[in-house]
Symmetry: C2
Subunit: 351 residues, 2 copies
């Protein structure tokens, strides 16, 4: 009768963009009902009865695979965090345009599927292959250029051939929910989630650099407000951490409080999370939960804090990964607001 | 299969505080699943089998009423907006502590019940009555003072005797949902919703000013950060408006867009909503939906906007009520962050 539960937070309905209630997630495998949704278009209508995946382009033997074919190939299951490149965008100053994601455009769980590498090897990648283009069934109009576009992205051939880039058909031991890409979703660990194309429609090997708008207009860091100079593509996730509790601007009693959060990274593993209570002058270690098997998932952390004096406190969290990358004090401002990974910060009042 | 729907946004789980997805509400009667929740404590455990309401204190005949008694009295149904006094608190600068409500700590619908006046007249209010104290079953600890407190509020005798202050037992033609005060919730139109006590446990007429902490510590405007001087109680809602669409920082195409929103007030009726596209120098009228029967509900409004030029635009909305009250350009800062009702403002980019 008094069960309390969180829900997704809606940023827009058409397309449906909703963030996870990240502060209230305490399990590794996020329930699919709380997995964040980031769509560019309305949901596509697929004909499942005639669902075939073509693998074409620069290959020896073009393939047309059925779901049956794919389900019969050797699979693997990996725990992967997916983070929208725009996660935390709302915290950038000066503010930028686009979905005002707070801290919940991130979720994780167990994805099962066939390595894209297996499929590419079946088809036989020819010499000169540079990128692999993955097209989704979702399509529609854009605000910036005329025409109808499908959501299509490419991967460098090396990343496409990485054994953990998989064409997934299960999430948490169930078919991938429709809204998250049923029946097939590409899962690209380590990269921001724009690479993990949903409702995969076709796969094509090419010898050039793919130039679709979701590759060359969106998901590009533009350091300048007024021009496109010095732009470079969004790829790997940055090392990052999020404070889950207390809530920002929460009022607490004096006494012991446990600061809780998550930390994750792209390349490598999170190895350290530190907390500062003096604005970043000194840092104290938080306790980290064990790392996942592949290092593609977030680690939970906790920090016991004894608030003996009344007053206002800023609490900062900073993660460092196995490559020595650490969160910067200030965010990297870019016009489309991607890749926010500055030190996380909340302010609480003890009374 | 592709039904999109919004959910409540969780600010905290214990107690459960969740705001309505206000941008996506287009009907007068908000579905109870999307009605905002604002609790001070965990949900109470009531014994419905022995549910009696005592009406005592400064009355001729103390009463002990059963639900049966209450259901047999003449009832009325009124459309009432309930707005948390902390709605929009997150927009105050300097920021204040407490739940960081954005624009959704507000909902409305049809409440049916018995006027509190009817019950007080049955008991016979004695000379010298000054306030009516309403206690809820919800109770617990506070951060600022030791002890266990129930959520208890008082109303001035005049407001308690107002024919539209009702002890409600139905919301939208169904029993009030448990989380919203089942079986009986006080509904006080025009006042911020801290007055609309849930899970009513007892009613008492007193000759003095009630001094419980939810009356004299919380729900008080403190104009100064460091001291309690010039404090005064939170009572009536202010005239207010909220832009529902476009979303703040949304990217739009050039062309026609409909700006949509709601407007409401405490005393009187909303009579005018105006939009400014030049930072408040000039204002243009929005089109208002019909007012509700009692003037206790919000009015929807729309404004057709032809965005022919690319660029960034601030869109402001300002409501004015039948008493000539209008939204100020700047919010009234107060330490606990109540009663925010400055002109609403979003920024969009047309490309």
């Amino acid at each position: 009768m008094s069960i309390v539960k969180p829900y997704l937070t809606t940023r827009s309905l058409v397309p449906e963009n909703q963030e996870s209630p990240i502060s209230f997630l305490r399990t590794s495998a996020v329930d699919s009902s709380l997995f964040y949704k980031r769509n560019h278009f309305s949901y596509p209508h697929l004909s499942y009865s005639s669902y075939w995946i073509p693998i074409s382009g620069l290959v020896e033997t073009p393939l047309l695979l059925s779901m049956q074919d794919i389900l019969q190939l050797p699979s693997k299951t990996i725990e992967v965090v997916l983070e929208c490149a725009g996660n935390k965008r709302s915290f950038l100053r000066p503010k930028v345009f686009g979905e005002q994601w707070e801290k919940g455009a991130i979720s994780q769980g167990f994805w099962k599927g066939v390595p894209l590498r297996t499929l590419l090897q079946l088809a036989g990648v020819k010499q000169g292959a540079k990128e692999v283009v993955i097209e989704g069934y979702d399509a529609g109009k854009r605000t910036d250029i005329d025409g109808v576009f499908s959501y299509t992205r490419s991967l460098p051939i090396e990343k496409a051939l990485h054994p953990d880039s998989i064409l997934a058909y299960e999430y948490n031991q169930k078919p991938i929910p429709y809204k998250h890409g049923y029946p097939l979703r590409l899962i690209v660990p380590q990269w921001y989630a724009m690479a993990s194309v949903k409702w995969v429609r076709q796969i094509k090997v090419i010898s050039t650099a793919f130039t679709g708008p979701f590759q060359t207009k969106d998901y590009v860091y533009y350091p300048h407000k007024e021009n496109d100079e010095d732009a470079f593509p969004v790829t790997f996730m940055h090392v990052n951490s999020t404070i889950q509790a207390p809530a920002d601007r929460e009022i607490l009693k004096t006494g012991k409080h446990t600061v809780k959060g998550i930390a994750w990274t792209g390349i490598g593993q999170v190895e350290k999370v530190e907390i500062s209570l003096d604005g970043g002058k000194t840092w104290l270690p938080a306790e980290l939960s064990p790392a996942g098997d592949h290092g593609y998932s977030w680690r939970f952390w906790t920090f016991d804090w004894y608030a003996s004096e009344k007053g206002e406190y800023a609490i900062l969290s900073k993660a460092t990964d196995s490559n020595g990358h650490t969160q910067p004090n200030q965010p990297y401002w870019n016009r489309k607001g991607y890749g926010y990974h500055a030190v996380d910060r909340i302010v609480v009042k003890v009374e």
